[in-house]
């Protein structure tokens, strides 16, 4: 199936350019460090705001990883060739979106120990943490892949991609930060579930919507 | 909730004033923009070569 082929190609590409994702990880970790300086040595506050900083760092890093994912297509004008294949734009979109989500998930998981160390914000509920990161990464990746496809055809991608993406993913940011916060700081009333449902709803809406619209964005 | 808010006319004036100014400014700009665009494409504005 074409989706599997696209996905395999994307993951292979990511593996081959893994030094780039290492650089993005360093960027993300540096961001977390800088955020901690904005608070100072106030361990209470650091722990309280750790989830917010984690997701902000991930959001900022996402613009880097997303723009990389279309870099190759833009360079060789490979996009047009790919789209000549039948039923191609859908599988291209989902292949790239899944690969991007996967990359962001890895990044998020890698940033957890950084968060634990810098903000003293640890948790034993690892599966829940990873679940939230997967859902949040998926929420960033769906509209992110659509807008990256659009903006990589323009010179001003660096400015336009965050400009378009960030207001859109406010619900993801809100829900992911709240859910992460409840996991780390405790959840006596079991509210995390509602935030996770919100994340799932956002993902469901945007993975279908952006898949439908992708074709119009890459057509010529 | 707790008590009553007294006075406050300056806030009302500010809100109304800003709104009327902004909407008015935009309306005038829209009208002028439309007339300028019309003038550009109307046959009488055609120049030689």
């Amino acid at each position: 199936m074409q989706l599997a082929a696209t996905l395999r190609k994307e993951i292979l590409l990511q593996w081959r350019t893994r030094s780039q994702i290492a650089a993005v990880f360093i960027f993300g970790a540096t961001s977390l460090l800088l955020f901690s300086f904005s608070i100072g040595p106030n361990s209470e506050a650091l722990r309280l705001y750790a989830p917010g900083f984690l997701w902000l760092g991930l959001l900022l890093s996402s613009t880097l990883t997303l723009s990389e994912s279309f870099h190759l297509e833009m360079e060789e004008r490979a996009l047009e060739g790919l789209l000549l294949l039948p039923a191609s734009d859908r599988s291209l979109y989902y292949g790239k979106a899944i690969a991007n989500a996967f990359q962001l998930t890895l990044l998020g998981i890698a940033l957890i120990p950084v968060m634990v160390v810098l903000y003293d914000a640890g948790t034993t509920r690892i599966p829940a943490m990873i679940g939230v990161i997967i859902l949040g990464a998926a929420g960033l990746s769906a509209p992110g892949t659509l807008y990256t496809a659009m903006t990589s055809q323009l010179r001003s991608q660096q400015t336009l991609l965050p400009l378009l993406l960030f207001p859109l993913v406010v619900p993801v940011l809100l829900a992911a930060v709240k859910a992460t916060s409840l996991i780390i700081l405790g959840d006596p009333m079991g509210q995390a579930r509602s935030w996770i449902i919100l994340l799932i709803a956002f993902d469901a809406i945007y993975w279908s919507l952006c898949g439908l619209l992708f074709g119009r964005v890459v057509e010529d | 909730m707790t008590g009553t808010v007294t006075g406050g006319w300056e806030f009302v004036a500010a809100a109304y004033g800003i709104t009327i100014f902004v909407v008015g400014f935009y309306t005038v700009r829209a009208i002028l923009g439309y007339r300028a665009a019309l003038r550009k494409v109307s046959p009488t504005s055609g120049e030689t070569s």
């Binding site: 659009m150 336009l160 207001p167 709240k178 119009r216 | 007294t6 109304y16 800003i18 550009k40 494409v41």
Partner: protein, 250 residues
């Protein structure tokens, strides 16, 4: 899905040209709308009684609520225009899209300013994380971003298609944002903007609201005309068909 992508070819082949529209209708709407708004404002400011708890600052609602309705209507029309353009490719819809996004963004910005001015005497802060106010702020950024996108795309067909896609994505996000902030707000139990208006205050409110909608219609119509004229300048008119195929006209 194939239906949607097939239409893009149809748009290129049909001879749809942006039209230069004239006529007094927008001006009439603007004039009538302005009059009605001023009437409503006068009633709201000088005739209606002050509210019990908020005092006179409650009068801001007579302009705030109509602005909110107008903003939503403008963006809803943008949403409809997006679909219309994607399905039939007529330039008029791109013109209307540009107009309604611009006006909707401006109104949403006004909403934030008005809400802020209302919040200060009422709650003592310039910004309360009220779901409506916060959603308005997100809307301003989301749709201003689409306006920025339009500035960076030079080819008109692409600009139209991409703005339409972005508008659909952004508009669908609006209820999601509202819902998330609402839920987040209710957990923190922050103050919220007073929503319901008692019957005694309805006359000035509905008057202003009707006036705003009339003004809005006139503004969108006018602005869309300007956009369409500019589009017609961008897109070259079709060439005259040659009388004989491959032949030379004698």
């Amino acid at each position: 899905m194939t239906g949607i992508s097939e239409v893009s070819f149809a748009a290129a082949e049909t001879e749809d040209q942006p039209r230069i529209r004239r006529g007094p209708l927008p001006y009439i709407l603007l004039a009538v709308g302005t009059l009605v708004i001023l009437t409503g404002a006068w009633i709201g400011l000088f005739v209606a009684p002050a509210e019990t708890f908020q005092g006179n600052t409650q009068r801001i609602m007579y302009i705030h609520v109509p602005t909110a309705w107008a903003a939503m209507l403008a963006l809803m029309f943008a949403f409809v225009s997006s679909f219309a353009y994607l399905f039939n490719g007529k330039w008029a819809w791109d013109a209307r899209l540009e107009a309604s996004i611009e006006i909707g963004t401006l109104l949403a910005l006004l909403l934030c300013i008005q809400g802020s001015i209302w919040a200060k005497p009422t709650w003592g802060v310039w910004w309360d994380w009220d779901p409506r106010l916060t959603t308005s702020a997100v809307m301003v950024f989301a749709f201003a971003g689409i306006l920025a996108l339009r500035k960076f795309v030079e080819e008109p067909g692409r600009r139209a298609t991409w703005s339409a896609v972005a508008t659909i994505v952004a508009f669908i996000d609006v209820p999601v944002v509202y819902f998330s902030v609402n839920w987040w707000n209710s957990l923190h139990q922050t103050q919220s903007t007073v929503g319901n208006i008692a019957p005694a205050f309805r006359v000035p409110l509905y008057t202003s609201a009707i006036g705003f909608v009339i003004l809005l219609t006139g503004l969108i119509m006018l602005r869309a005309r300007t956009s369409e004229i500019r589009l017609s300048e961008e897109i070259a008119p079709p060439l005259e068909p040659v009388a004989s195929v491959g032949g030379i006209r004698s």
